[in-house]
Amino acid sequence: MSDHHKGDGSGVETFDARSPSRRRFLKSMGASGLAAATAPAWAQIAQAGQSQAEPVEPRDDGAPAEGEQQIRLTVNGVEHTLNVTPNAVLLDVLRDRLELTGTKKGCDQGQCGACTLLVNDTAINSCLSLAVSHDGDEITTIEGLSNGDDLHPVQAAFWEHDAYQCGYCTSGQIMSAVAILNDDNIGSDDASVREAMSGNICRCGAYKNILAAVQDARGRMKGAS
């Protein structure tokens, strides 16, 4: 996945260190309390931007309890040793145990694609995956795409093309796009991209901009590699 981090940064000028991720912003809101809440919106954003995202520390659950299985997951390059019950779903473990809430739960039945992430560089629906089945696997979530504040070319293209409205499907859309742009078997024409992305449903109907973003990112990734 290292190629993804070689973006030259072109076209991402609007996104600098003061622009917080939504998650970082919300965390900061929780911590800074009323004073921040009464400040103007721009000041809140500036303040929030001063705090850095907390790095995800390696987690080690120790010895498993009865009925649990011990698994090792490498998530965005960080290895975790976790104890999970057999019915623990990969999506839920990432969100609830590792607090990586960028991956979204939509239908929870493999129908909407919001939970799409990469397992060993292949895009899959994490809602239909048992965590225990992924013992030893390398997982990349939306949180693992950017290099610090340098967005992945697909993230930058989504930003520039306004390829979302509510944003709930966006991380799944981006993860699918990253996978298909790295897959030589999938054609580069618009029809092939639409077909390859059909497993990611956008209820807001931002498909036109999503397609434009994916095609734009194709050029950026080619230029970067």
């Binding site: 929870d108 493999g110 292949t122 995956s129 699918s176 996978a179 639409r194 059909s198």
Partner: protein
């Protein structure tokens, strides 16, 4: 999702012994059917045997010209394999017309064979459904039976279509399913694997309790044949077939010398249309020939309140496919 005991198998033999002949156990491959149905409480395994680490991920060309596919070859890997794409285009096309990129990345060859019906009355957990609760009746027969309900092979107890595209192509190609079970290994003809609902719609396939599919072996491709999968559906992608056809033909001049026809979206199992094939062999490749064969393929069809359109649609799926292939 309800909990279960979990065992990860390192060998086929270990998988079979972990599963045992107990019906409350389930093999887990890609999980796209099993975990979906466990989450909505339609399947309730007490024991899940994870077979994902088994050495069943290869596609091999055998000396006799057949192609042996490991149970765990994903739908993506099978569709993209160069030998499959060139020698069995119909199979590659069928696979790529099914589900979505990320589901095909998970779904396996054996799992696709084993997928359950998409009838909403089966999945809702409350309606009468003889597959889910044998003897309770079939809500689909008098209910909303437009999209995932069959006109061929139905019974008064069940009318759900088999949802697979891959299996329709395999039915046309011809194949053998190899299984390993408590009593050892055996082979099942692909066309005998999926059962008609008849009086026992809860019995969907020929596996005995505890048996595990290890391989699907495709018959050797017909010499100088051309093949195509045509899928007709309510939207352009990510939708089950209303009607589909898998057709393989060989031609000498404008005469059809051999033909294989199988249908999806219209039958309670992947539907091989032998009589339609007989009506094509030795005939000129004309629209009149195609129309006649298509009529024969549906002569035993039974329409229901909302799916009578599938009879002309299915016939069109045959005619258009043959027209494309012989042009």
């Amino acid at each position: 999702m309800h909990n279960f005991d979990y065992a990860r198998a390192d060998s086929t033999r270990q998988a079979v012994s972990s599963h045992g002949p107990d019906k409350q156990a389930a093999y887990l491959a890609g999980g796209t059917t099993l975990l979906d149905l466990v989450k909505i409480d339609i399947m309730r395994p007490e024991q899940v045997v994870d077979i994902n680490r088994l050495d069943l991920k290869r596609i091999e060309t055998l000396n006799d010209g057949r192609t042996r596919i490991g149970a765990l070859v994903t739908n993506t890997a099978l569709a993209r394999d160069e030998r499959i794409a060139s020698d069995y285009a119909v199979l590659s096309e069928a696979l790529l017309s099914g589900a979505t990129t990320q589901l095909r990345n998970k779904a396996t060859t054996a799992g696709n064979v084993m997928q359950r019906v998409r009838c909403p009355y089966f999945r809702d957990g409350v309606s009468n459904c003889n597959k889910r609760e044998p003897g309770s009746g079939c809500a689909a027969i008098e209910g909303h039976n437009r999209s995932v309900h069959a006109v061929l092979g139905t019974s008064e107890h069940c009318i759900a279509t088999h949802p697979s595209d891959m299996c329709v192509a395999m039915a046309a190609i011809g194949a053998t399913i190899t299984v390993e079970g408590p009593e050892g290994q055996r082979e099942i003809d692909f066309l005998d694997f999926h059962l008609l609902p008849g009086d026992t719609p809860e019995r969907e396939h020929a596996l005995k309790p505890g048996e595990l599919i290890t391989h699907v072996t495709l018959d050797a491709p017909l010499d100088n044949s051309r093949s195509h999968y045509l899928k007709l559906r309510d939207r352009a992608s990510y939708q089950f077939a209303l009607a589909s056809s898998a057709v393989i033909v060989t031609l000498e001049g404008d005469t059809i010398t051999d033909a294989r026809v199988a249908l999806g979206g219209v039958g309670t199992r992947p539907w091989r249309a032998h009589e339609a094939e007989a009506a094509l062999k030795g005939q000129k490749a004309t629209e009149a020939t195609f129309q006649k064969a298509a009529g024969i393929a549906f002569k035993s069809a039974t329409p229901y309140a909302h799916n009578a359109f599938k009879i002309p649609l299915g016939q069109q799926a045959i005619v258009r496919n043959l027209t494309t292939l012989t042009a």
